[in-house]
């Protein structure tokens, strides 16, 4: 009952409604369009804001508090792409490049889902809306899932058939990718400037955050809407994979998070990270390493299926599960 209520309240939040507006606009072929340069700038803003806000709060966190959650995140970044690969190869009957390519998407992170997860928590009543300040660093760690999947693929394929030299470049690109640099850069700046330095820039990086995210989600909805049209093309296996696996990853992420000592909200966000499928960094990396993998499969499933699923019913589900498990573990 409570779960239904939380799903309903998520569905009726401005974020999800804006996302749905974007989907609908695409389906009725309306020309609402937020130009690409603005969307790119907004995504820089969102990641930087999250880093910054985390950094400001970070004061007082000890390294030991961070250690276990970091290890849990690394474990997920290794396990998720691995089992995805195995499932895609086995029951999925994909060839190596496609299996590794899809695994790279589900093994890493969608910034939008991550940001929406954070916003989901911040919207909760005062007192229940806090989470660990180092969360942005976990998101940066989780990006490594891409590299793990590509390693697997390359290993199984034999170096000869993969693009020579590309893997090294992909590792470097993952380490210095936009999200990593902005999240960690923002975190560091937040730590240094502290509450006081943040105060004067808070109108932009604090107060406006949620409104900008709503705006951003209109365009994300349009993006997902365009992929939704290709829904049928991915076939029944990927349709199931794209809805079931994220839920499974979400549950795994939440559970591991709680076991690693995260707060329920923190564990929820780790779950959202695990559940999310990349659609910006992963496609570029996969295209560079396994050009023979079919982009319409991994793009349609991550953007057209998993992204809306996570935003609309995934987030409230992981959140409810996090609360339920906390209670079960006697943590709440």
């Amino acid at each position: 009952m409570d779960t239904i209520e939380i799903i309903r309240s998520n569905l009726l939040s401005p974020l999800v409604l804006a996302f749905v507006l974007g989907i609908v606009a695409t389906l009725i072929r309306s020309e609402v369009e937020i130009p690409e340069p603005v969307i790119k700038a907004i995504s820089v803003y969102l990641l930087f804001s999250i880093g910054l806000n985390g950094g400001v709060e970070l004061a007082g966190t000890t390294f030991s508090e961070f250690l276990l959650p970091a290890l849990a995140t690394i474990a997920l970044a290794i396990a998720v792409p691995t089992w995805c690969y195995l499932i895609l190869r086995g029951p999925g009957r994909f060839d190596i490049p496609n299996a590794a390519g899809i695994a790279a998407h589900y093994g890493s992170v969608s910034s939008v889902t991550f940001v929406a997860g954070i916003s989901f928590v911040e919207r909760l009543p005062e007192g229940q809306n806090t989470f660990e300040a180092f969360i942005p660093a976990l998101a940066a760690l989780m990006e490594w899932g891409i590299v793990v999947a590509l390693f697997i693929g390359r290993w199984r394929l034999g170096a000869s058939q993969a693009q020579n030299g590309e893997l090294g470049r992909v590792i470097r690109d993952t380490l210095t990718g936009r999200s990593v640099v902005l999240l960690l850069g923002g975190l560091l700046i937040g730590v240094i400037v502290g509450e006081q330095g943040f105060e004067r820039i808070k109108p932009l990086y604090g107060d406006l955050f949620r409104g900008v995210l709503v705006f951003f989600l209109i365009e994300m909805g349009m993006l997902a809407g365009r992929q939704l049209r290709d829904f049928v093309k991915v076939g029944p296996f990927m349709a199931v994979f794209g809805t079931v696996m994220p839920i499974f990853h979400g549950i795994a992420g939440v559970s591991l998070g709680l076991l690693a000592g995260l707060s329920p909200n923190g564990a929820f966000i780790l779950g959202a990270l695990a559940a999310s499928a990349s659609y910006i960094d992963a496609p570029a990396a996969v295209r560079a390493t396994f050009p023979q993998a079919n982009p319409s499969i991994y793009l349609t499933s991550s953007l057209g299926i998993t992204l809306p699923m996570n935003l609309i019913i995934g987030l409230p589900l992981y959140y409810e599960y996090a609360r339920w498990l906390s209670v079960a573990l006697g943590r709440m």
Binding site: E36, L223, Q227, D230, Y279, I280, P283, A284, V286, R287, A288, P291, Q292, N294, P295, S296, L299, L303
Partner: protein, 112 residues
Amino acid sequence: MHNGVHGKGQEMKLTTVRLVTIIAEPILKDRLLQEIHTLGAHGYTISEVHGEGTRGIHASQWQGGGNVKIETLVSPEVADRIMEAMTDHYFPNYAVIAYVHDVQVVRGEKFA
């Protein structure tokens, strides 16, 4: 063939070089620029284009299906080498096309 002009009393010599045009998914940009440089091109001009061909969506579809167009003025030999490299390394797996035609320039040696 039109090869010399008399203007202000001095003759302008036009030389024929080849213009190679490559249209490719953006992921290939850096690699292609590297490759044409290695094969002997001394310069290039790049622009953002969109397009559709016989292949389905590609990895940057989420950014509106953009492609890059690379144009390079080169000698016929370099043009051949580039077309060959395109055929061998890129046509099989990537959304790329390439074509070539003759153009006339003033300072042929700049592109040779």
